[in-house]
């Protein structure tokens, strides 16, 4: 009977979407850099052009080269306290409406951050030598 044979293709939309997105995402990461490279200039490589620029590190050299990770550590610690303040502002505006539970929650949060800082300090993450 025609009614049973005719399949409503719309039913299969979710799987089509899923496959499409899976395909898109996995190809995008391969193809995008190639396309960008194609459009961002003529391909005439020479030694100076192939060296890294600005803050890049040489890609192919002895991995024991000096590489200062201290900047990253300081940046990460900065982000933690940056976010803490970002949480504190909206909390400070509403804490008097929300009562002691809100106060306690923020104090627990601050205490946890303090423990993290104490740990980082003690293991020497803050020392610049």
């Amino acid at each position: 009977m025609p009614e049973t044979i005719a399949v409503d293709l719309a039913e299969y939309l979710p799987i089509l979407l899923f496959l499409g997105i899976a395909l898109l995402l996995s190809t995008a990461f391969v193809i995008l850099p190639m396309i960008v490279a194609r459009f961002t200039g003529a391909s005439k490589p020479y030694a100076n052009k192939l060296t890294e620029y600005e803050c890049g590190f040489p890609a192919f050299e002895d991995s024991r080269g000096q590489f200062d990770v201290r900047f990253y550590l300081v940046a990460i610690l900065f982000i933690i306290f940056d976010l803490e303040v970002a949480f504190l502002f909206p909390w400070a505006v509403t804490v008097f409406d929300m009562g002691w539970v809100a106060w306690g929650a923020m104090m627990v949060f601050l205490a946890e951050l303090a423990i993290g800082l104490a740990y980082a300090w003690k293991v020497g993450a803050l020392e610049w030598e």
């Binding site: 899923f18 496959l19 995402l25 991995s63 423990i115 104490a118 293991v123």
Partner: protein, 480 residues
């Protein structure tokens, strides 16, 4: 419900939070020798305390904090498995790291923090809670992957895991934002109610993105590409941890999202899950054949096993969920056992070996270890009468009961292909010309754990089947 009652329901998470932060201070300020082992012991005791806490309100307290957090039979079942595998991952670590002098107290602490995130994942009743739990688990895992920071492979594994994990989190979060935008709520119940009137295009896109993000976390095809590299590069105890606890948490989370929030859209996610399940089983079975590194092989094995677990979810029924939970419980025991055996693969100087060819002749030099290895491989291949067969039987039974005959037939056919590479290991152990013998396996803790897991997986394990069926059934019922 008062604040105190609510806090009692989240008691395991409280224990882990206070315990992990406490141990962190101990790790930084204590000068005691062998600190790594001491902290490990405390960490295991804390995980046991969390398990005991589940006997109280934390095991069946219901929804607290306005439906953000659920404590029911489902979360309890998952948490017991998570805490147990986390504890074993801690116990198997000291000797592995000791050789390089890297048994730092941060290892058990990171495992505790990861387990804390997993507890939130399996108890989540809200997309925000889901994301916080997932990130807590993942962030600790990224650090664990690169725990041996002098080792380039470990550092590479950590970086790769971090970059791809961040990408997956982004995809998931995008889906969450779409679902929130189109339903106006982030609570599972609210989303379920909003979708009951029909699935809009925006909700469908959100669903697809959320499933893609979750598929990454359980390393299901087509989002599995990170698994072999990370499993190979990460230190072996960490790999054992990755292959067990986070998998349970992510599968449980996926079940809760699909059957709680996305229940009205069952037809939509069912086809995705069927595709992902079959693709995972097929790729896990075929790609593992050419591997020569045992950790890489076990990575493909875990992709393969996740596919089988997903068949239970694909059935979309209560029996299917119970089957998936049982499957995960059995899978965890088999996987932990396999990795404990891999830990015993050390050359005469005590350096870890990962080459499958080096297993040759193990049946003569260490017959007990060889037998245990064979039991785990036979069980992973799903060969009766070992317990691995029962898990596969349950998921296929659920799929057939739900009318998904083609799925079951293809799955069974592919599981035969998958059996090949497990059997190849057994052939290497028992029939190949002897290679250089390993250092003797003399760790009491590790040998004891191998004996317990091997006994559980052996036909003796069928004594546990009624208990497993009862608890998994109760857990599944909590969602329906």
């Amino acid at each position: 419900m008062t604040m105190l009652e609510s806090l009692l329901v989240v008691l395991p998470e409280l224990i882990l939070t206070l315990g992990a932060t406490d141990l962190l201070l101990v790790a930084a300020f204590s000068n005691k020798p062998d600190l790594g082992r001491r902290v490990s012991i405390y960490a295991v005791l804390m995980l046991i305390a969390c398990g005991l806490a589940l006997l109280g309100p934390a095991g069946n307290g219901g929804a607290v904090f306005g439906g953000l957090y659920y404590a029911d039979a489902f979360s309890t079942f998952s948490k017991v498995l998570i805490y147990a595998s986390a504890a074993i991952a801690i116990l198997m670590a000291p000797r592995f790291f000791d050789r390089r002098g890297e048994m730092r107290p941060e290892y058990p602490i990171l495992i505790l923090l990861s387990a804390l995130g997993m507890g939130f994942m399996v108890s989540s009743g809200d997309l925000m809670m889901l994301y916080i739990g997932l990130e807590m688990q993942s962030l600790a895992a990224y650090v664990l992957a690169s725990f041996m920071r002098q080792d380039t492979r470990s550092a590479e594994a950590g970086l790769k895991y971090f970059v791809l994990g961040a990408l997956a989190s982004g995809i998931l979060l995008y889906g969450v934002s779409l679902i929130y935008g189109f339903t106006g709520t982030t609570s599972y119940q609210g989303i379920g109610a909003a979708m009951a009137s029909g699935l809009s295009m925006g909700e469908l896109f959100g669903l697809v993105f959320v499933l893609a993000g979750l598929a990454f976390k359980i390393s299901a095809v087509p989002f599995h590409m990170w698994t072999p590299d990370v499993y190979e590069g990460a230190p072996t105890p960490v790999t054992a941890f990755f292959a067990t606890a986070p998998k349970i948490a992510a599968v449980a989370l996926a079940i809760r999202v699909m059957f709680d929030a996305l229940a009205p859209a069952t037809d939509a996610w069912q086809q995705i899950v069927i595709f992902v399940a079959l693709a995972s089983i097929a790729l896990g079975a075929v790609a593992a054949i050419g591997q020569s590194n045992v950790k890489r092989l076990l990575a493909y094995s875990s992709i393969n096993n996740i596919g089988f677990a997903l068949i239970g979810i694909a059935a979309g029924t209560q029996a299917g969920v119970a089957a998936t939970l049982s499957y995960m419980a059995i899978y965890v025991v088999m996987t932990l056992g396999s990795f404990l055996c891999v830990l015993q693969m050390r050359d005469a100087q005590g350096r870890p070996v990962e080459d499958i060819a080096s297993l040759a002749g193990l049946s003569k030099s260490q017959p007990a270890l060889a037998a245990a290895f064979a039991i785990f491989m036979f069980s992973l291949a799903g060969i009766p009468p070992l317990l691995g067969f029962w898990g596969k039987f349950l998921v296929f039974d659920a799929a057939v009961a739900a009318g998904l005959f083609p799925l079951a037939v293809i799955g069974i056919a592919l599981s035969v292909i998958g059996a090949y590479y497990y059997l190849r290991i057994i052939k290497t152990i028992y029939f190949d010309d002897a290679a250089a013998p390993y250092a003797p396996a003399n760790s009491v803790v590790e040998n004891g754990l191998i004996a317990v897991t091997a006994a559980t997986v052996s036909p003796l394990g069928y004594l546990l089947v009624p208990f497993l069926a009862l608890t998994a059934g109760n857990a599944a019922q909590a969602l329906f």
